[in-house]
C-alpha cells in the first residue's frame, strides 16, 4: 500500500474517533498532543481502529503516547508493519 493511501485511510480513522478534529485540515506533522489534544485513551482508540483497517498488530509497548510526536509517526509505523 502506498503511503498516500495509508494517510488517506488513517485520516478516516481520525475523523471517526476524534470528530472534534477537522480531518481535512489535519497537519499530520504537528505535535498531536499540543495541536489536537491527543491523550493516551484517544491514541489507543485510533491504534485499535488502525489495526483493523490495515490488518496490522501493534505490540503493547507501541500503545504508549510518548513513542510518537505526531500522527505522521503512527502512519510511518503502520507503513513499516505493512512492508
Amino acid at each position: 500500500m502506498e503511503k498516500n493511501e495509508i494517510k488517506e485511510k488513517f485520516l478516516e480513522i481520525i475523523e471517526e474517533e476524534m470528530p472534534e478534529i477537522e480531518a481535512d485540515k489535519v497537519d499530520l506533522e504537528a505535535s498531536f498532543t499540543d495541536e489536537y489534544g491527543v491523550d493516551s485513551v484517544s491514541l489507543i482508540k485510533v491504534i485499535v481502529d488502525a489495526e483493523e483497517k490495515f490488518n496490522v498488530k501493534f505490540d503493547d509497548k507501541e500503545l504508549a503516547l510518548n513513542k510518537y510526536n505526531n500522527f505522521e509517526d503512527v502512519v510511518d509505523l503502520i507503513e513499516e508493519k505493512l512492508q
Binding site: G37, D39, S40, V41, I44, K45, I47, V48, D60, K61, L63, A64, N66
Partner: protein
Amino acid sequence: MANKAVLPVKYPAITSWQWHATLFSILGEDENAKKWIYSNYIQLRCYNIAEYTTGDEILLCDMMPGSSSLKKCPYLIFSLITKPQIESYCGDVIDFIVKTIDLGGYIYGAFDEARMLCDVSVDYKFSHELFIYGYNMDEEVFYVGDFTFKDKYSYTTVSFEAVKRGFDALSAGEDHVFRDDYKGTRGLYVIQKNTDSKYYDIDPILIKQTIREYLNGEDTKDHFRMLRNRFDDTIFGVDVYDALLKRIDKQLHEEEPDFDIRALHIAYDHKVLMLDRLKYLMANEVIPFDQEMLDDYAEVVEDMLAARNLLVRISVTNEIEAGGRLADHIKSAREKDIEILTKVMNLL
C-alpha cells in the same frame, strides 16, 4: 488589584492524584524542593476503600507521603481557612481567591465540579479538589489545574461564577478534603511557596531506609504512629504489585468488567519518579553514574506503562484474555524493580 495575575506553575511530572499534581505544579522545577521530593515518594502503599463519589470498592494506591504531602512539605506554607473566615474577611469566595492570589497564595480545596460543569440543577454531587493559580478580571475567569474539565490533567480556565457555584454547593460534611482531618469544617487551603532558603537536603539515609522498606514490603507508617494509627489493612512496597495483579484479575472477571486504571497509573508514575530519582542521585554523585542501570530501570517504566495502556486497550476492545499479557508486564516490572533497587540500596 491587578486585572490579571497568574502564579508560576509547571506541568507536573506526576499527575496521578490532584495533591501530587498540585505540589509538582508549584515545586517540580525548584532545585531546593527537588532535594525533598527525591528523598520522599519512595514507598508505595495501597488498600481497598469505598470511593467517596460512588461507594464502589477501589484499590487506592499512592506514594508516601500521600495527600498530606502538601501539608508536610517544608518548601510549602500551608494554611487552612474555614468558610466562615472567608465570608467574614471578604464576604465572597471570589474576592477571597483573587486577594489570596494577589498575595502569592495558591488555592486548593474541594468544589462540586458537577455544579461547575453544569449550571442547571443536577441530582448528584462530584466533590473534587480544585487547584487555582491565577485570575483574569476582564474575562472573569480563574486559571485552574484539574482532571475534570478536559478528561486529563490540564491547565485551563473556569469562570468566576462556576467556581462560586462549585464552592457554595458543598456543605461541611461533603467537603472530603476537610472531612477526615477537620470534622464539621468547610473551607479552603492557601498554599505559598517557601523556597527562598534551603530547609532540607537530599537524604541518602532516608532514601536507603525507605528503599529497604519498599523491597521488604514493610509498614512505613509505623514511623508515624504518634500521628495516625487507624489503618491496619495497608499493603506496602513491592507487595503492591501482587495487590495490583489480584485487583486487575478481579476487575476483568466481574460480570460487568471494571476498567479503572487509577491504581496502575499511580504505580506507573511511581516508576517514572524513581527513574528521575536515580538520574538525580547520579547527577549529584550520591551514587555512581551507571547508564546500564538507567536503561534497565527505563524498562521497568515501559512495562508499567504497557500494563496501564493494555488495560485501556481492553476497555476499548473487551479482549479480556489479554489480561494474561497485562499480568506478564507487571511481573516483569516487579522482578527488574527489585533487582535494580537492591543494587541502589547497596550503593547508598
